[in-house]
């Protein structure tokens, strides 16, 4: 949740440039060391492939890997959408009725604290594989949305709530004009966590389905390549998964920034 630091303006342009340059230098140095060690020690690719081999594999197997990437991303997106809608809807329901909240909240927690990797095999028995994978992504990702939205809806300024009461606002008006806008920064924070988690959920379910499943996602490729000792392809698939995670986070961070930039403290630069 401390990711907002990256948006905060820095004192000097040189320092800002270094924030981007330094990690790149570290990354390049790491890759170089990796490449050198593999070449000097003459390590075979099925033990540890050199970065160059991984890149070559990525390009050569692009047809297979890109399709797997699309499958995993689609699953993630479906899980994320379900988690967002479900989490926000449930939070709104909780906010409208304390009784519903008391009745259901413990189960939301149970669902959250039970490791998804343990639930996945069961889901795979009862549900079609594609559905099971989406459900896994949903289970992992919906709780942060639910709890953050609940927190947001409950942290409405008391005086503003009094003002709405004074002017005779109806429940839908209060929700639309007061509670939802006030909760928006919290909701967006929850969505940012949910984005990464739904990818994890999708991958976990694919791994659980393993080669027995008919899936073709990136995690399935990793498991499959593992059995075939196709280590370079495992690394290539891992690389794509990692990139997918970064892109998902980046997109959500940008959306959050664009939505909040006019008014919320988190999106403001040093000028305020």
């Amino acid at each position: 949740m401390s990711a907002q630091a990256s948006v905060t303006a820095k004192p000097s342009p040189a320092q800002r440039a270094m924030r981007f340059v330094l990690p790149v230098i570290v990354f390049a140095a790491g890759l170089l060391a990796w490449e050198l060690v593999v070449r000097i020690k003459d390590i075979p690719p099925y033990v540890l492939p050199a970065p160059s081999v991984i890149v070559v594999t990525l390009i050569r197997d692009w047809a297979v890997l890109s399709q797997s990437l699309a499958t995993t991303l689609l699953t993630t997106l479906e899980g994320f959408a379900a988690a967002s809608i479900g989490g926000i809807a449930l939070a709104l329901l909780f906010n409208q009725s304390k009784w519903v909240e008391y009745s259901l909240f413990p189960y939301a927690i149970v669902l959250q604290v039970t490791p998804v990797i343990a639930i996945a095999p069961l889901l795979l028995i009862y549900l079609e594989q594609q559905t099971a994978v989406v459900v896994c992504a949903f289970i992992v990702a919906f709780f942060p949305v639910l709890s953050n939205t609940t927190l947001g809806l409950n942290s409405v300024d008391r005086n503003l709530a009094g003002l709405f009461q004074l002017y005779g606002a109806s429940k839908p008006q209060t929700l639309r004009f007061l509670k939802l806008p006030a909760a928006l920064p919290y909701i967006l924070g929850g969505l940012r966590i949910a984005g990464g988690l739904s990818l994890i959920g999708a991958v976990v379910a694919e791994i659980a389905a393993g080669t027995a499943g008919a899936g073709s996602g990136l995690a399935y490729r990793i498991a499959e390549s593992g059995y075939r000792l196709n280590i370079p392809r495992m690394f290539a698939a891992l690389l794509l998964l990692s990139l997918a995670g970064i892109v998902i986070y980046g997109v959500l961070a940008v959306v959050s920034h664009l939505v909040l930039r006019r008014w919320h403290e988190s999106a403001l630069g040093k000028e305020s």
Partner: protein, 271 residues
């Protein structure tokens, strides 16, 4: 017409009460008695200050008048608008904090009461702009609250309270958090607005000087549970301005109000 004429004309008629409280008490759920019993009558068009130590229930009294909470006993009567029902029941409320929606522009903040009351958008915007102009913020309609200074935010809050054209304006220590220069400036602007608009103003403050400078009547309250300690009339040449603030009459009134307030403070120390 001068304010003195208005009040004498109003005194003649008993029906001209804007707000009346009869034996009003407020006890909180935790058993703390915050207020009362309190009897208070405010005439239409009167500017009255509720003055008292912090925690004496003056804000509670204001919330009862606004209908934001219900009295534990007693009767709160507020004169309603004649004619069609207005959003806000003819009451404007200015909180201690500006209480603006940070996600909405200044214009949208001021338009809120009208929007909640179902006033069409174009008309609401025009009236919001008008209210903002009356508090000297015509150039800031599209700004966001965070871009404004503390005094300007308070002006927006005042414009929002005025936008429904209420009969009664309730103000809960509105200028307490501002620096003295801004506060003096807003005091003068508030007096000018009150003179032109002729609203009933109930102004809660803990500043003796502010209450004497602004109001026709200063009601001094005791420490918790808040009751009326003294009811003083401040009579001077209208319109008031800086020369009143530095006059001997002003300091004399301040001395009398402070003296009336003293028992509340000594009472508080025994709590």
């Amino acid at each position: 017409m001068s304010a003195a004429q208005t009040s004498s004309a109003v005194e003649a008629s008993l029906t001209a009460l804007a707000v009346s409280l009869r034996g009003v008490t407020k006890t909180y759920d935790n058993g703390v008695m915050a207020l009362g019993p309190l009897d208070l009558a405010v005439r239409k068009g009167e500017f009255i200050s509720l003055l008292g130590p912090s925690g004496c229930g003056k804000s509670t009294a204001l919330r009862l008048i606004a209908g934001l909470s219900a009295p534990s006993s007693g009767i709160v009567r507020v004169a309603r608008h004649e004619g069609p029902a207005q959003p806000g029941h003819g009451i404007g409320f200015v909180f201690q904090e500006p209480t603006l929606m940070p996600w909405a522009s200044v214009r949208e903040n001021v338009r809120l009461p009208l929007k909640l009351g179902g006033v069409p958008k174009a008309e609401g915007r025009a009236r919001a702009d008008e209210a903002l102009a009356s508090v000297g913020l015509a150039d800031f309609t599209d700004a966001y609250p965070r871009e404004l200074s503390g005094g300007m935010k308070m002006r927006v809050s005042l414009a929002r309270a005025l936008v429904t054209d209420p009969d009664i304006l309730l103000m809960d220590e509105p200028f307490a958090a501002l620096d003295e220069i801004t506060r003096f400036c807003l005091n003068n602007d508030l007096l000018a607005l009150w003179r032109t608009l002729g609203k009933t103003v109930i102004f809660v403050t803990h500043s003796v000087f502010e209450s004497v400078y602004l109001s026709q009547r200063v009601v001094v309250m005791t420490a918790r549970p808040g009751r009326i300690q003294a009811d003083l009339r401040i009579e001077t040449v209208e319109p008031r301005g800086e020369e009143f603030r530095t006059s001997a009459a002003y300091s004399d009134y301040c001395r009398r109000v402070s003296a009336a307030l003293a028992p509340s403070y000594s009472g508080q120390s025994t709590l």
